[in-house]
């Protein structure tokens, strides 16, 4: 009696899942965490214009590349660092080498009310390390997040890497690093320009760009994967249109940056 009801309940759950499995799915765009705000806005514009939807998933570029290698069903990959795209293309997992869509920039971000000052030359950070003001400092994981690699390069360039290492909190990707810093859980951090200009972030923090020549250039590249269909292709083309370009630029994801 109770058992029969239980079986019915289980079957109902089965049934509920069937339509989901059968449904035709819109393409999945895997993108670096640094472009998440820009891409959400572009995807909305794309949907408004074409009526097609894309599904967005964000993470550290290195992780997304690994997942593609393991067979993740992504149609389009926006990496924060072109090396991941080029390597995957070489391995034959992408349709081609794709195109650059931005030059990434990093900068120092401090939450409002922090003891640190936003300072692109990191001089205040140096002073804070010396006078003991600095508690925690956030960067993305240099192992698989391109913005984390560039942050490390900049800190090495400034001669601060060894001194700051004990203070570092490592975000799994650049968005998490930014989250640590913006929320005040860290005193500051090095994050992408693209996140710093997002309204939610800008309202709660201050930011200063680090000179572009302190680190290797960060050519952000995107490419379609082998499984991409027409909608993914259309979105790929849309990302290169002037309308999308303007949104990228708004979020600090310009293809070339004037110094400043």
């Amino acid at each position: 009696m109770t058992f029969a009801r239980l079986i019915a309940f289980a079957l109902a759950f089965w049934a509920a899942t069937l339509p989901r499995i059968a449904a035709a799915e819109s393409p999945v765009v895997a993108a670096a965490a640094s472009v998440q705000f820009a891409l959400v806005e572009i995807a909305q514009a794309f949907e408004a214009e074409t009526g097609e939807t894309v599904r967005l998933t964000f993470g550290a570029s290195g992780n997304l590349a690994r997942q593609i290698r393991q067979g993740a069903p992504y149609d389009l990959f926006l990496s924060a660092d072109e090396s991941f795209v080029l390597t995957l293309a070489e391995e034959g997992r992408l349709r081609d080498q794709g195109v650059l869509y931005a030059q990434g920039r990093i900068g120092a971000l401090v939450p409002r009310g922090s003891d640190l000052k936003p300072d692109g030359t990191l001089e205040d950070l140096r002073a804070a390390l010396q006078d003991g003001r600095l508690g925690r400092f956030a960067i993305a994981n240099p192992e698989h997040a391109p913005y984390g690699q560039r942050a490390r390069e900049a800190l090495i360039h400034a001669g601060l890497w060894e001194a700051i290492e004990p203070h570092l909190v490592i975000g799994e990707n650049i968005a998490q690093a930014a989250q640590f810093a913006v929320s005040g859980n860290a005193d500051g951090g090095i994050v992408s320009y693209s996140l710093a200009v997002a309204p939610d972030v800008a309202a709660r923090s201050e930011f200063a760009l680090i000179p572009a020549d302190w680190h290797e250039p960060l050519g952000q590249r995107m490419a379609l994967t082998k499984r991409a269909g027409p909608v993914a292709e259309a979105f790929y083309a849309y990302l290169q249109s002037p309308a999308a370009r303007a949104i990228f630029d708004d979020y600090g994801l310009a293809l070339s940056h004037g110094e400043g």
């Binding site: 109770t2 289980a10 899942t17 799915e25 393991q70 993740a72």
Partner: protein
């Protein structure tokens, strides 16, 4: 509020429970009734997910079912998509990872039935399946219910393994727990807060209902 993620999590939990139920009953009863030399090993294997970090578990699943593995390739040839980073992959991971939550309460449930009751069922002329349906399952019911609720709630809340083998594909592998994580990272604090509260309430209500229900059953069986 990410309703897609919530529905997906519910579906994942529901399918997991539906698949785990017969497995849990078969395995739980076997472990409760039989005694054999390798039993501690089997019990340890079942309990392994309790102590193993989800990342370790996820890593082995990636190795076993990833696109490069023979199993993963067979799956891809048959179903046209990879097992990892898919809903089906999450179901599989979820079933394996929930084994102890399903098997152990069911095993305890069957162990609580006196051997004489089982003998009495057989000696009353009931064939094994009839005895299971009419005597053993109703008596092990509190354990079975606990197993279902724990597996359900645990699947709703599972994070690490979903992150490892699922990615975060909306409508496919972005579960509630992952969605909350994503929301925090995209500075959507209110969204994260709402979904966390909802998950908290659902988990609490489910478990409270179970406790109330098993107490009622306990009284009935005196």
């Amino acid at each position: 509020m990410d309703w897609t993620a919530l529905i997906l999590s519910m579906q994942l939990a529901g399918v997991t429970v539906a698949v785990l139920l017969p497995i849990g009953i078969a395995l739980g009863r076997w472990l409760a009734v039989r005694d054999f030399r390798a039993k501690p090993l089997v019990e340890a294997l079942v309990a392994l997910p309790l102590v193993l970090p989800p990342t370790v578990f996820g890593y082995y699943l990636l190795v076993a079912f990833g696109a490069a593995s023979p199993l993963g390739q067979i799956w891809e040839q048959v179903f046209g998509q990879t097992l990892v980073f898919s809903f089906e992959g999450l179901v599989l991971a979820s079933i394996l990872f929930n084994l102890p939550f399903a098997v152990q309460p069911i095993q305890r449930g069957f162990e609580a039935i006196a051997p004489e009751i089982r003998e009495a069922a057989a000696c009353s002329g009931m064939a094994p399946l009839t005895a299971l349906r009419r005597v053993e399952l109703p008596l092990a019911w509190p354990g079975i219910l606990t197993a279902m609720v724990l597996s359900f709630a645990h699947t709703l809340g599972e994070f690490g393994i979903v992150l490892m083998v699922g990615g975060s594909i909306p409508g496919e592998t972005r579960t509630v727990a992952i969605s909350i994580y994503d929301k925090v990272q995209s500075f959507d604090d209110s969204g994260a807060a709402q979904m966390s509260a909802l998950l908290l309430v659902i988990s609490l209500v489910t478990i409270a209902l179970t406790f109330a229900f098993s107490r009622r059953i306990g009284r009935r069986l005196g």
